[in-house]
Structures are given as structure tokens and as C-alpha cells.
Amino acid sequence: MYNNEDNNGERKPLVVVSELKKYYPVKGLNIGKNTPVIHAVDGVNLEIYEGETLGIVGESGCGKSTIGRQIVALEKPTSGRVIYQGETLSDMPFGCLRKIRTHIQMVFQDSTSSLNPRKQVYDILAAPMLYHGIVEKEGLNAEVNRLLDLVGLPKSMKYRYPHEFSGGQRQRIGIAKALSVKPRLIVCDEPVSALDVSVQAQILNLLKQLQDELKLTYVFISHGLGAVRYVSSRIAIMYLGRIVEIADTQELFDDPIHPYTQALFDASPLPVPKLRGRQRIVLKGDIPSSVNIPSGCRFHTRCPYAIESCRINDPELISVEGSKGHKAACPVLMAQRSE
């Protein structure tokens, strides 16, 4: 069904996330009652288009990393589907999934644990290529050199162990490993959060440059607005397992609609002192527990614009009038706009 859209002249999504839900049971003894569950992802719809970078932003615990793990099929969704080129990943037989998997790779936050400490860089990069038959044995050395060159490391480093590298270098190796199986989509799960600021910029530039060279698609998960804004062409804002607003980067920053998006933007420090006196939305209280999700709009407990109906009606993502692909889940503010 997703192929039909192509014929209508619309952009064809590479990955479609459809009504995705992932609940985790809360560990511990729960005698005589139903096991409480954490609603990590609670009904998310997303399209990821070829060649774009989709940023996913949200507080800790809002489910953004969980979406990432579902897209790379590390976990099975509780319900809903991740569809890659028309095929549902969670329904695929094991053998097929293994082949398809090379198309969707992941770059992890913690570069220390993402590389096997017992293996030299050469082995780390070569093993998947050999197994999937991407290069012949004779070409292996050249291919490893090429990968290291791509991520800006000297090829002389290939016989070193991961602990001999700095955090930024390890993250480069992590990227090279993801690239080794020639993926089309890379899920970057907070790839720069653990690095210091100067190195962050290098890695972000590397990701952008690789995207241009290799025609990659990224899902860029982060809690840092600056990094996401820098690399993303489209941004989705998540709150408590739901997407509350999604739009092209420029549009989102120019015209944020959802009060949570506004609060997020207001909370990030501004480099321009003049603007510091502006009126800001400051959120009170903590993010509610993802075990007991608030009724109605899940943001109403912290929302300055909340009205009575927000407690009852669970808002859906609605397209913003006169915009292309800008959706927000706040009927109150959207009604105000159209007045």
C-alpha cells in the first residue's frame, strides 16, 4: 500500500512507524494485581523519508530511545509496526530479518561499550563485512582502510584496541562499524551526548558529510536542541511516549505551536542577550510517571494553557493549516491561531 503513494507523486517513505506501542512491565513482586507497565512508547506514527535527517527530541524517559530500538528491530513492539520498504520488521522470518538488518544500523551513545574491548579495530570492522559477503577476503584490508578514511581516522590505527582511543575517536569507529554493512538508514541514539562540546561539533559535521557522500538517511535521537537543529531536516518533539509536534526544522523553530515545544525552546539558553528578557514558558513540576499516564492530554498537568477539556480528550496530531507537514497535538492553541 505504501508503494501506491509513490505513484501519486508523493515522497515515498523509507520507514513507516505505525501505531507503535512499547510497554515494559515494572519489575518486582506484584501479588494480587495486574503488573504495572511503563508506557515507553504509546502510539507513535512516523514516516522517515529517504535522504532526510529526522530529529527526535524529548526529555529523558520520553521514549525516544525506545523508538530507536524498535526501528533497528532490537526489540519487538508491544503493538504496532515498523515497516521498512513495505515489510513489517517484527513479522519477518529470522533469516530475512538478518539480511534486511544491514540496511538499518545504529550508532550508540556510549562509545566505550559499543566496541568490543577484546577486538582490534580491524576485526571490529571486518567481521560483519566478511559475514555478509560485502567484500572478498582480498579486498578486506583496503575496505577497512577506506572506512577509517571515511570517518577521518588514519589507517595505521586499525590494529589498536578500543581503549587506546579517545571518546570522539571511538565514536568515529562506531560510525565506521555502522557504515561497514552499507546501510541506508542509521539510527543515531544520542551519538554526541557523551562527548565534549568541541568534539560534538566534529562528529556532527562528520555525520552530515557522510550523509552527503553516501546518501544516508538518519534518525537522530537527542535531548540537545542545538545538535538536533544543526543536523536535522525535520524534528519530532516527544513527550511521555507520544509525538506532540513534528515539522521541518526551520518551521518548527520559527513557529512552535505545542506548549511543550515552546517550553523546550524557552528552556534552552540563548546566545543573544537582547532576547533574554522575553516572556518564557517555564514548566513546573516533574514529568509524570510513565506508569500512570495522565488522562486526556498527557501534558495537561504542566501546561499553562490547559483548559477543562484537556483533562478529558486525548488530542491527536493535527496538520497545521497552510503548512507542509507541520503537525501538532494541541487543539486549544491551534483553535486560537485560526481565530
Binding site: 532490537l74 539480511k99 568490543n116 574491548p117 560483519p128
Partner: protein
């Protein structure tokens, strides 16, 4: 061919690094030399022993002399020759048992930890069951049922010693399974056997080796205990355990030291040096260990 030489080069450097770090532990190096020395003695026992270990001479319980360096036992066999053969048997029991129990333990631990679920529950309950029996009683009962003898002792000890290794490996696998590099390999579509044996196993080799050396040491002690109780390797074959069996008698214990002190000293030195080597190995094999 260029490919080959490069591959060789980095393999060599890894080995060199491990050896280099091992050498920093002087005690372990000395222990290793001692173990090698004892192993060579044990292997060459038939050549270097001055007498047939089972041949009875005319002097009973004779104290050490020029003819019999370590004296003779109660029925007049040369103690030095018997000790050489006993070390041979004890080292063999220790080695074979360690190999059997480690292989069983590692394979079951890997499977239980990696696949989890019902497989894990079944394997771990079997492990708990074996561990909940009083160890020495279990071995004694088994030895009584199957009859004491060299191979029976090896198999019995081997099948009783694996739960520790299985638990150790399972615990390691459980934490390694959650690391990003294992997840990364799953995402890269690598097969389970690669992830288990090439990614996870090398990261548990250190603890496995250390554990195996302790099993080796413990097995030598167990064989000695069994021999002392008369349920070990059966006479006339000499083992360190059944030589100690002679020390059950109070007269021997107090006045005929040459019948039990040498065997006891060999056991102590073997066990100590094996443990030293094990500790040094653990440090040497970890590439991220501090210099």
C-alpha cells in the same frame, strides 16, 4: 600474501603483550617454572625414577638413605619413585577434570545466559540442584556406586565441578548481552554463534581461566582427600592422595615423616603455584588493565 603477513603481525603482538604483562608477576613466573618442572618430572617419571614404583624391596619403612632418597614405605617400595608417579597421576586427574568441567560449564553457561527464558531456568535449576548437595558426600557416593578408579574419579569430579563455571559464565553473559557491542552485532545481522563465541566468549576468557586454575587446584586437593579416605585412585597405582592415606596411622604421623611430608609438600606447592599463575593470567589477559 601481504594480507597474511599483516595478519600474523598483529596476532603476534597480542600474544607478546599478554606474555609481557604476565612476566611482571615474579611469583607467577616462578610458579609457572615450578609447574613446568613438575610436569616434566611427571611425564618423564618412567625414565628418571630409580626403582619400579610397585617393586617391593627388603627394607620396610626405611628412613631416607643414599639408596632410597626419600626412604621406603610400609611395604618397602621406593618413596621417591612412587612420588614421581603420584605427581603424574594427580596432575593428570587435575587437568582432565578441569577440561571436562570447564567445557561443560562454559557451554551451558553461555546457552543459559544468552538465550534466557525456559532454557535458562532448566539449566540453572540443574546447577542449583548439583550445588545444593554436600560436595564431598556426592563425590564419595558416586565413587562408591561407580567404583573408585582413575577414570571414574576424573569423570565424577568433572561432572560435579561444572556448576561453578556455568554460573560464572552465565553471569558474565547476562551483563555482556546488554552491552552496545553485542546489540550492535545483532543490529548488523551477525549470527548467534558468532556473537556467542566470537564476541561474548573472549570477554569471559579471563574469569574462565582464573576459575579453571582454581578448579585445577581444588581437584588436586579433592583427589588427595578421596585418596586419603581410600576412595580415590586405587593402590597399587600411586597418587598423592593414597600416599597420604598412610598418614592415617598415628605412628607414621609422628615418627615416619618421610612417608607423608613430601607428598603433602608437593600438594601444597602445586596448589599454590597454580593459584598464583591463575591470578597473573587474569591480569595479563585483560587488554584494558593498567600497566
Amino acid at each position: 600474501m601481504k594480507q597474511n603477513s599483516e595478519g600474523l603481525e598483529y596476532n603476534n603482538s597480542t600474544v607478546k603483550m599478554v606474555i609481557g604483562r604476565f612476566r611482571k608477576h615474579k611469583l607467577a613466573v616462578a610458579s609457572l617454572y615450578f609447574l613446568c618442572f613438575m610436569t616434566v618430572l611427571a611425564i618423564l617419571a618412567p625414565i628418571i625414577s630409580p626403582y619400579d614404583p610397585n617393586k617391593v624391596s627388603t627394607s620396610f619403612s626405611a628412613p631416607p638413605s643414599l639408596a632410597h632418597w626419600l626412604g621406603t614405605d610400609q611395604i618397602g617400595r621406593d618413596m621417591f619413585s612412587r612420588l614421581l608417579y603420584a605427581t603424574r597421576i594427580s596432575l593428570f586427574v587435575g587437568f582432565a577434570t578441569t577440561v571436562i568441567s570447564t567445557v561443560i560449564g562454559v557451554v551451558l553457561g553461555l546457552i543459559a545466559g544468552y538465550f534466557g527464558g525456559i532454557v535458562d531456568i532448566i539449566i540453572m535449576r540443574i546447577t542449583d540442584t548439583i550445588m545444593s548437595f554436600p560436595y564431598i558426600l556426592l563425590v564419595l557416593v558416586a565413587a562408591a556406586i561407580f567404583g573408585p578408579g582413575l577414570w571414574n574419579i576424573i569423570l565424577i569430579l568433572g561432572f560435579v565441578d561444572w556448576p561453578g563455571a556455568a554460573r560464572l559464565v552465565r553471569g558474565n553473559v547476562l551483563s555482556l548481552r546488554e552491552t552496545n557491542f553485542v546489540k550492535g552485532n545483532i543490529v548488523a545481522g551477525m549470527p548467534n554463534r558468532y556473537i556467542l563465541f566470537s564476541e561474548i566468549l573472549p570477554n569471559t576468557i579471563g574469569p574462565i581461566l582464573v576459575y579453571a586454575t582454581s578448579v585445577f587446584a581444588i581437584t588436586i586437593l579433592d583427589e588427595a582427600a578421596l585418596g586419603f579416605l581410600g576412595m580415590g585412585v586405587q593402590p597399587p597405582t600411586a597418587s598423592l592422595g593414597n600416599i597420604l592415606n598412610g598418614a592415617e596411622s598415628i605412628t607414621i604421623l609422628t615418627s615416619k615423616f618421610w612417608l607423608w611430608v613430601p607428598a603433602g609438600v608437593i600438594i601444597i606447592l602445586l596448589v599454590l603455584s597454580i593459584n598464583f599463575v591463575g591470578d597473573a593470567l587474569r591480569d595479563a589477559i585483560d587488554p584494558s588493565a593498567k600497566e
